[in-house]
């Protein structure tokens, strides 16, 4: 599964001699078709989020975002992302290093395991932690005796989020590091470089864009996860509601504008991180 969710934006491929590209008519037709599709499927829902958010005016919009419950949901969402993303970054680096720099039996199996959370229904992702740590779960009574609360509290939300976002960074790095091979690292090793130095000096500079992109996606998904978190959250207002859950609550309270306002905040968080990535990348390529 080389190349899953990977992106390189060198513009080499778009500079092509005439004879191996399409006629302008076909070209613009294809562009038009692609844009129409994206517009219909992605952009329109996005626009509708903002339209609905501002339906009752900017005042309602601002109020929805500054209300205490929304702020505590924002805080929780950021906190969860701050814990989950570094964990998955470390894992992503370790897994990519093992998978791409060495050959061993069962590699496909491991890669499939890493992919699995992509394919697991969010409902199941939440349910498994309830089965494990819920009061009726396998470890429930043991935890209960010690007064440790996992599900319906921060740890459960973090676990569910980590589960859902496990593949993002690893899957971004594996094809990239596979493509780069082991020559550079081996050369460094033969020159006597130590393990961590090899990684820091040789590997990291090569993968930094992929890594950044993976982190950004992981972060966006961590902040936006709804299904799995919904199962383990407990929905206590102002305490265990993340932003996506707060969106649902407002929606269920018929505060449609406020609900979309909070949703638009999530969109903007995602877009902002993607922008940052684009800018950093553009600046570094200008050097």
């Amino acid at each position: 599964m080389a190349g899953a969710i990977s992106v390189h934006t060198d513009s080499e491929a778009s500079k092509r001699p005439r004879h191996i590209t399409e006629s302008p008519v076909v070209k613009w037709l294809l562009i038009g078709l692609a844009l129409a599709f994206l517009g219909l499927v992605v952009a329109l829902p996005l626009v509708s989020v903002f339209v609905e958010a501002f339906r009752k005016g900017a005042e309602v919009y601002v109020k929805a975002l500054t209300e205490p419950d929304a702020l505590s949901a924002l805080k929780l969402t950021l906190l969860v992302a701050v814990i989950a993303v570094p964990l998955n970054t470390v894992f992503g680096l370790a897994a990519a290093w093992a998978v791409s720099k060495f050959s061993f039996k069962g590699k496909n199996f491991l890669i499939t395991l890493i992919d699995l959370p992509f394919a697991v229904s969010p409902v199941i992702a939440g349910l498994v932690y309830v089965l494990l740590f819920g009061a009726q779960g396998f470890f429930g009574p043991w935890l209960d005796e010690r007064g440790i609360q996992i599900v319906f509290a921060l740890p459960g939300i973090v676990l569910a989020t980590v589960f859902v976002t496990v593949p993002f960074i690893a899957r971004e790095l594996i094809p990239l590091m596979q493509a780069q091979g082991v020559q550079e690292e081996e050369a460094a090793a033969s020159l006597g470089a130590r393990g961590f130095a090899i990684f820091w000096r040789v590997t990291l500079p090569n993968i930094k864009w992929g890594l950044l992109y993976g982190i950004i996606l992981c972060n966006a998904r961590a902040m936006g996860e709804f299904g799995a978190v919904s199962v383990v959250s407990g929905h206590i207002r102002g305490q265990t509601n993340t932003l996506p859950l707060h969106v649902e609550i407002l929606y269920n309270e018929y505060q449609f504008s406020a609900s979309f306002a909070v949703a638009s905040l999530l969109v903007m968080l995602a877009v902002a991180t993607l922008m940052v990535k684009a800018i950093v990348q553009w600046k570094s390529s200008a050097h």
Partner: protein, 379 residues
């Protein structure tokens, strides 16, 4: 060999580190939890102190210095959000005046069954205020409260009641007056799925009760009636609020089967000029029950305040707040004040007409029950 052991050492080291990280995470959560049930860890002595103090002699001395604030968690179902926002404020003010103690009530809302499950799975609710007795019975089965909960508070532990009504588009263009009108050609009915929504079970049972009555208690005829009814349902949302949105925002359907309070709320929130409420000839008395979760209040030492909280639902003020939020007060004097808002109609009850929730649940809503048979292929 030596190399392997080194590798295993590093591996082992990592396992240890990871476990420590997770453990730290674990204690962080319990610390965090301290915030939630933080009242919990801190209060047992104090609240218990006040439990003994309250009836005792030095209650007055006690009330001079403010007691440490206490927290309650009320796990409730979807349509009660507005009711409890208002009621919690009223109770907090009442409690502060009475006991000079600050009480903060956290709310959690969702589908009634889902909420019950959350409590069973470990959400530390001090009190539950759900849609069906059946859901509280499920919590009883998990051993979190005694099976006699329904006798702990007055009137079957149901401080307010409600019923199922029809919400139709303004002017009632399809002329819907009673349950049999729902089966007319071209009428689309919106109701949530009884398998996932407590409210929808009341809808279904009200229809069933009507059909039984019309057909001299012929169950086969009633079966046919609900079967035909659900042929008129184009969308089965998972919860009551989802159905309301489908009906109101998406413009789907001619009639919404809804809680009386939801119907009023939709009219007020979403457009008084767009909808009418129709009362059918017969409906069902919905008694959303309340209960104390013994296990939590004993662990948190919050029994006294939890009891007072639920008891306050029966007070004049509590009853008035219920009425204001379109729940039918059970106190006769207060109910009389709201008589105009709540027309009287013939109401079936779960216990008398359906043999209680356990029986209704197994007969109608369990897997392969009557509701499932409606949607069995070839049936």
């Amino acid at each position: 060999m030596k190399k392997t052991s080194v590798r295993f050492q590093t591996l082992f080291l990592y396992l240890v580190v990871m476990t420590l990280v997770l453990a730290a995470c674990g204690s962080a959560k319990s610390g965090n939890n301290g915030g939630n049930s933080g009242g919990a860890a801190g209060t047992p002595s104090t609240t218990e102190g006040s439990t003994t103090a309250a009836p005792g002699t030095d209650a007055a001395a006690e009330s001079n210095k403010p007691l440490p604030p206490v927290k309650l968690l009320n796990v409730s179902y979807d349509p009660t959000r507005e009711l409890y926002v208002e009621f919690n404020q009223a109770f907090a003010a009442h409690w502060l005046k009475e006991k000079n103690q600050k009480v903060e009530i956290d709310q959690s809302h969702g589908g009634s069954g889902k909420q019950a499950r959350t409590v069973i799975d470990g959400l530390k609710a001090d009190v539950v205020t759900l849609a069906l007795g059946y859901d509280i019975d499920a919590i009883v089965d998990a051993g979190l409260l005694g099976s006699d909960w329904q006798s702990q508070f007055e009137r079957n532990s149901s401080p307010y009641t409600s019923t199922i009504v029809f919400l139709v588009r303004k002017g009632n263009p399809k002329g819907i007056k009673d349950w049999n009108d729902l089966l007319k050609d071209g009428v689309e009915v919106i109701t949530p799925n009884p398998k996932t929504s407590g409210g929808a079970r009341w809808n279904y049972l009200a229809a069933w009760g009507y059909a039984l009555k019309q057909n001299n208690n012929d169950e086969e005829a009633a079966k046919q009636f609900v079967k035909d009814l659900f042929k008129h349902v184009p969308v089965l949302d998972t919860g009551a609020r989802g159905s309301t949105t489908t009906f109101v925002e998406r413009g789907l359907g001619d009639v919404l089967l809804a809680w009386e309070n939801e119907a009023y709320l939709s009219i007020n929130e979403l457009g008084p000029d767009k909808f009418d409420i129709v009362y059918p000839s017969i409906s069902i008395l919905a008694e959303p029950p309340v209960a104390i979760v013994d296990k939590t209040v004993d662990a948190n030492g919050t029994r006294e305040v939890a009891e007072a909280y639920l008891q306050y639902l029966y007070s004049d003020e509590g009853q008035k707040i219920a009425g204001k939020n379109y729940y039918r007060p059970t106190d006769e004097a207060i109910a009389a004040q709201f008589a105009e808002q709540f027309p009287s109609l013939e109401l079936l009850t779960i216990d008398k007409d359906f043999g209680g929730w356990k029986e209704a649940q197994t007969k109608h809503f369990a897997d392969d029950g009557i509701f499932d048979q409606i949607y069995t292929p070839g049936a």
